[in-house]
């Protein structure tokens, strides 16, 4: 049976500049995978390619076995792949509630567990602030909105790019706790994470990226710290503590 | 405290060279000087019709070069340059009719008066940016038109004509009649033509020198990334204001010259958005914005189109509009963009190429 999402020799360019070189990853139903790597390794680019923001040739990305690499973001979203983009990117002219509502714009026909009510239940603070402009929230609250917004489309694949950026640890804990709920509702998740410890904790499998290539992959239990370290920083590095 | 690399530089003097010109550009420059020199003799050789066509080409070229400097290099998209054409032209008429000044002198002075108008204008316009700036300059030009339409001594909204004697007796006209037996209207044409030739050449040389100078470098930096340029000590605002004032002078002088030759002025004509800004924008865009070559090509294309098709009236204008749209969509760098992409030519190179006197290092070319 086909994987939920699969890439085959994925490449990505910004103009003439190549950011991703022949990446193969696989995501199975109900799985959480983590992509780790240094700044500029190409993690966000990979996410953007999956979400259709960067167009590829069709066969490079498969969703349930169908080629979707050439589809634009709106069509990818309509198929049920939602991205929580790097840096939150809320809509400043919309209120919190409107930001959430717009998440379902492309998938209004799809019913699912995620509605305004269930999002508010997950992040009660948002309900209190729902009439505020999104930009008036703290960083962490904004991140909750961004996640809620993606959930509103009831995706079966949730792509999360650097969720914990600017978040207090306690918020991070809440969010990762919520992931259990999300997985239970049948969605698969890809997270991009710079925090290796966190990644190892939540992911079923890890992909480590460097300079646009996958340099290491495996289950957390199979990987040893030194390997990750080498993949992360290049070989023979100054030992971290 | 000594900083950075100062010490090292002293040891290595004269090792590095900067080269700007290329073989193509050298040949072209020679050709250009030759052409300009030959064009001086045109009034004695070719018919008046040709002289007037050349006058049209030269004045439009000058307007195009100055708008290109403003929009293409300084990023100031003005749709109000007709303000300076109009002010220059009215300055000419005012000086000639009211003070009896010689038109040739008045043309030069007109540039300064246009600049005087540009100072308060800049004060308003530079509070705006992007599309706001464009609309703002348009409104300011309209204000100029409406104000001059209130100047009753120069005919108000009716406009006025240049006294015949003024052009007939203008500086040098008598000499031309005496020496070459030119009729006064022919002599006036010739004088206007020479002024246009000098002005166009001077403008191109000026723009080129400016681009090759430190200011040109700063301008290019601001155009590419204003934040970074400012952070590196480039005074973007001052540069832009400078360019704005300079183009006002050039545009004012051209305006005066054009109306010296037309001999009749009215606010609607002198402040015409279509004639002095829209056509100029077409010329620049069709030729290739942000290059010196572009306006030159553009004005030739425009002239040919105008001569061949203007008898088709509105169909011609319709086609011109459509051409501008198509160019912008499919060849945003204009005709010159297409040519230089194919051939790699640069007739007015401003690129500073670093050359190594000791040939220790191999440095990539601009396309390598």
């Amino acid at each position: 049976m086909a994987s939920l999402v699969e890439t085959r020799g994925l490449t990505a360019f910004y103009g003439d500049f190549q950011a991703v070189f022949g990446v193969d990853i696989r995501l199975e139903v109900g799985e959480t995978i983590a992509v780790i790597g240094a700044n500029g390794a190409g993690k966000s680019t990979l996410m953007r390619s999956l979400a259709g923001v960067i167009a590829n040739s069709a066969e490079m990305v498969l969703h349930r076995g169908e080629p979707i690499g050439a589809l634009g973001a709106p069509d990818v979203v309509r198929r049920g792949i939602a991205l929580v983009p790097e840096g939150r990117r809320l809509f400043p002219s919309l209120t919190v509630e409107e930001n959430l509502l717009i998440g379902s714009y492309g998938r209004q026909v799809v019913a699912g567990p995620w509605t305004l009510e269930s999002i508010y239940a997950l992040f009660p603070i948002l309900k209190e602030r729902r009439r505020n402009p999104a930009t008036a929230l703290s960083g962490g609250q904004q991140q909750m909105v961004a996640i809620g917004r993606a959930l509103m489309s009831n995706p079966d694949v949730l792509l999360c790019d650097e969720l914990n950026l600017g978040l207090a640890p306690v918020v991070i804990k809440d969010i990762y706790a919520a992931f259990a709920k999300i997985k239970a509702s049948g969605a698969a998740i890809i997270i991009v994470e710079q925090d290796i410890v966190q990644a190892l904790k939540v992911a079923d499998r890890i992909y480590c990226m460097m300079e646009g290539r996958i340099t290491l992959t495996g289950r957390p239990s199979e990987l040893d710290r030194a390997d990750i370290h080498a993949a992360y920083f290049g070989a023979g590095t100054h030992e971290l503590a | 405290m000594t900083t950075g690399f100062q010490a090292m530089t002293n040891e290595r003097t004269a090792r590095w060279r900067i080269e700007t010109r290329t073989t193509v550009s050298r040949i072209f420059t020679m050709f250009l000087f030759l052409a300009a020199a030959l064009m001086i003799f045109a009034p004695f050789v070719v018919s008046r019709g040709v002289i007037q066509d050349l006058f049209f080409i030269l004045t439009m070229l000058t307007l195009a070069q100055s708008w290109n400097l403003l929009a293409g290099y300084a990023g100031l998209i003005s749709v109000g340059q007709q303000l300076f054409v109009g002010c220059g032209a009215y300055a000419l008429f005012g000086l000639v009719i009211l003070t009896g000044m010689d038109p040739v002198l008045a043309v030069l002075l007109a540039g300064l008066l246009a600049a005087a108008v540009a100072v308060p204008t800049a004060f308003f316009a530079f509070r705006l940016y992007g599309p706001y700036f464009a609309i703002g300059t348009w409104v300011i030009a309209e204000v100029g038109r409406l104000l001059l339409a209130q100047w009753k001594t120069l005919g108000g909204g009716t406009g006025t004509s240049m006294p015949r004697d003024a052009t007939r007796d203008m500086l040098g006209a008598a000499a031309l009649s005496d020496w070459f037996g030119m009729r006064s209207s022919v002599a006036a044409d010739a004088l206007a033509y020479w002024m246009a030739l000098v002005l166009a050449s001077a403008t191109i040389i000026f723009v080129y020198r400016l681009l090759c100078s430190k200011h040109g470098l700063g301008l290019a930096a601001v155009r590419d990334n204003e934040t970074a340029a400012r952070a590196l000590g480039v005074d973007a605002q001052r540069l832009k204001t400078l360019i704005y004032l300079l183009t006002a002078i050039i545009t004012g002088v051209v305006g005066a010259l054009i109306y010296l030759q037309k001999a009749r002025i009215s606010p609607d004509a002198a402040f015409s958005l279509t004639d002095w800004t829209a056509y100029v924008i077409f010329i620049v865009v069709i030729g290739g914005i942000g290059t010196i070559e572009g306006p030159i090509l553009g004005v030739l294309v425009f002239f040919v189109l105008q001569n061949a098709f203007s008898s088709f009236g509105s169909w011609y204008l319709l086609a011109l509009g459509a051409l501008a749209i198509v160019t912008m969509l499919f060849a945003p760098r204009g005709v010159w963009g297409l040519i230089s992409d194919r051939t790699g030519w640069e007739l007015f190179p401003v690129r500073r190429r670093l050359k190594d006197g000791s040939s220790e290092y191999e440095m990539g070319g601009p396309h390598g």
Binding site: L83, F91, S93, L101 | F124, G130, V143, S314, L320, G321
Partner: protein, 287 residues
């Protein structure tokens, strides 16, 4: 001098300017697109209404109802196939393309309809008036003003109360992220321009019934429309109405002092507002 009358006429005139400006404001606010052909599109719509009135002998209001969807289609096609390609951080391409478009429309109309100045006749409505206290207000200007308020009210409802409106605002904020919500920016923009063209039809209706128009009448309307939008502040529709009223008032007050200063007074008011509030009276928080 009758100041009450001057003020009333100024406000009513402002309604007309606000109508000219509302469509522009919508497009400008959502796409940062400076549409230099807006005035010509108003004139085009006026010709369309005139054509419908004269070929089917319909009432102008009914004719506008027929013209509106046609104009929507035109706007949609224009945006989808032409203007969308010009959007970006560079302001020059949209300026130039719409400038070219303006010339194409003007001369196309000239070929089709000659330079004769035309009119959409509204019969006795044209000269009807009502007494308000000591002053007379024309029914037509009152209707124009009411329509302007209505159009802006409806637009506000649409933009702040519907999913489509949310999509407009979101796309205006951030095109890429909007596409991640399943919004197709190109189509959304096309719909916005289509809507703007429907407002243009309303403006054209009143322009055509109020005064003559000819194929070259567009640019003069455009400049007022722009001034109203910018005075009001980018993206604020009520601001646009306020901008129109300020412009109208400046003109009538200027004219009451001396008709020679009428149009100038409007422009001067515009420049003064910009001098003190470069981003207009009610600018949007994020820009």
């Amino acid at each position: 001098m009758n100041w009450l009358d001057t003020l009333l006429q100024g406000i009513l005139l402002g309604g007309l300017y606000a109508l000219f400006a509302a469509g522009l404001s919508l497009v400008f606010g959502i796409m940062r697109l400076v549409n230099l052909a807006h005035g010509d599109l108003i004139v085009l719509a006026a010709f369309l209404i005139m054509l419908i009135v004269s070929s089917f002998g319909l009432n102008p209001f009914v004719a506008a109802l027929i013209a509106a969807p046609l104009m929507f289609g035109l706007g949609w096609v224009l945006q989808y196939y032409l203007l969308n390609r010009t959007l970006g951080k560079d302001v020059l391409p949209p300026l130039l393309v719409t400038f070219g478009l303006s010339i194409v429309i003007q001369n196309g109309l000239l070929e089709a309809f000659t330079a004769d100045s035309r009119r959409v006749s509204a019969g006795s409505l044209e000269t009807a008036s009502v007494q308000i206290g000591s002053v007379n207000a024309g029914l037509m200007p009152l209707l124009t003003f009411a329509s302007a308020v209505l159009v802006i009210l409806a637009l506000n409802q649409l933009i702040y109360r519907t999913a489509l409106g949310r999509a407009f605002r979101a796309t205006s904020d951030d095109v890429v992220t909007a596409s991640l919500m399943g919004i197709r920016p190109n189509s959304i923009f096309a719909v916005a321009t289509g809507l703007a063209m429907m407002i243009v039809t309303v403006a054209a209706l009143y322009l055509g019934m109020r005064a003559n128009f000819d194929p070259t009448a567009g640019p003069a309307r455009l400049i007022y429309a722009f001034e109203a939008v910018i005075i009001g502040g980018l993206g604020s529709l009520w601001g646009t109405l306020a901008g129109g009223v300020i412009l109208g008032l400046a003109q009538t007050i200027g004219a009451a002092v001396n008709p020679e200063w009428q149009i100038l007074a409007g422009h001067v008011a515009f420049l003064l507002v910009l001098l003190f509030r470069p981003r207009g009276l009610f600018p949007r928080a994020v820009d």
